[in-house]
């Protein structure tokens, strides 16, 4: 099998860990496989404060402290990268992308596939989830939108 350039969207869920295990099993033994772990985060809510003494101004100041969660998420993504390296992927061939998104997760993944030439995308899918009725299924939106990429579904 030829070396593969793999995109692994990752959202820290248990299903994402399954997708990660699949990527290690399937692509780990391949020399020169290149993996990009991808997480698109929701930025901190922007609010307008009427004056600096107002309740909204205080809330705005408190929200700025809450960016700590994003730092922790990025560190967790770095740990996933280290884990892949410990499982045999070459250090120079594992990278992570931690970027802000303004729209849907699926749109951020689709945009990433357009920005870079990937051979494979590894998605996870948990059937029967009720949240897909409210937010739509990331898996189906990505699959419908992308072209010329091998899609691996981990369920």
């Amino acid at each position: 099998m030829e070396p593969q350039k793999i995109l692994l969207p990752y959202n820290f869920s248990q299903n994402d860990q399954k997708a990660l295990a699949f990527a290690i099993r399937t692509f780990g033994p391949l020399e020169n496989s290149e993996v990009t772990i991808f997480h698109a985060f929701t930025p901190i809510s922007e609010i307008e404060a009427s004056d600096h003494q107002s309740a909204t101004a205080k809330l705005k100041r408190r929200l700025s402290y809450l960016t700590q969660e994003l730092t922790e998420r990025e560190m967790a993504l770095q740990e996933v990268r280290q884990y892949l390296i410990s499982k045999g992927f070459h250090r120079d061939r594992v990278r992570y992308i931690f970027k802000s998104r303004k729209g849907e997760t699926s749109a951020a993944i689709i945009e990433q596939t357009k920005d870079d030439d990937y051979d494979v995308i590894v998605l996870n899918h948990k059937p029967g989830k009720v949240t897909r009725f409210f937010t739509g299924s990331v898996f189906s939106k990505v699959v419908m939108a992308i072209r010329d990429i091998t899609v691996c579904i981990v369920s």
Binding site: S54, E72, A76, K102, T105, T131, F134
Partner: protein
């Protein structure tokens, strides 16, 4: 302990605006969780949708809780802070002294002291839950609890709107896939 009101009209406007202005339920839920954490000075907040088939709560959006806590396992409606009366909020003032939690050891390890659980109703049915997590023991004020009920009702409307929107969008995509030749 704290009983002072945290949600005034100014904060309420910010919260409802975050719901009204968002085009995406996933982002709305996350922003709402952030705003409630900031406004109430609490540890975290999560918005769940109820899955009547699996009898589980599924996360729509969350803020402030660790990755291990979020991945602690499935949350069963019947075992996790179930209200004796449907459509009523449950206040767990001290997580160390309650039998209402499904994962009480995980909550203590996470540094959660108290939990407030508010049902998200739509048309007489509970379609989700809004949960707020405090670092310490917590006596939320009656007025803040009332405000959270109103917020939960608005979230319910937003959830159903998003659901309708997705259904219409799906129908549009299916109809769009029908070639003109089939309609001649």
């Amino acid at each position: 302990m704290q009983t002072e009101d945290r949600i005034n009209i100014e904060i309420f406007k910010v919260v409802t605006r975050a719901i009204a202005e968002s085009k995406n339920l996933e982002i709305m839920a996350k922003h709402l969780a952030q705003l409630l954490v900031g406004a109430l000075e609490i540890k975290g907040a999560t918005i769940f949708a109820t899955n009547v088939e699996t009898k589980e709560l599924e996360v729509l959006g969350s803020f402030g809780l660790s990755i291990p806590y979020m991945n602690k396992g499935p949350i069963y409606i019947s075992r996790s802070i179930k209200s004796a009366e449907k459509h009523k909020a449950v206040v767990v003032r001290d997580v160390k002294n309650t039998d209402l939690l499904q994962y009480s050891a995980d909550a203590i390890q996470e540094g959660i002291g108290a939990i407030v659980s508010v049902p998200i109703d739509f048309s007489g049915r509970v379609i989700g839950v809004l949960r707020l997590y405090h670092h310490d023991q917590w006596d939320i004020s009656e007025r803040d609890l009332d405000s959270l009920f109103v917020v939960a009702e608005i979230i319910g409307l937003a959830m159903m709107y998003a659901r309708m929107n997705h259904a219409i969008s799906d129908v549009k995509n299916i109809v769009g896939d029908v070639h003109e030749a089939w309609l001649e």
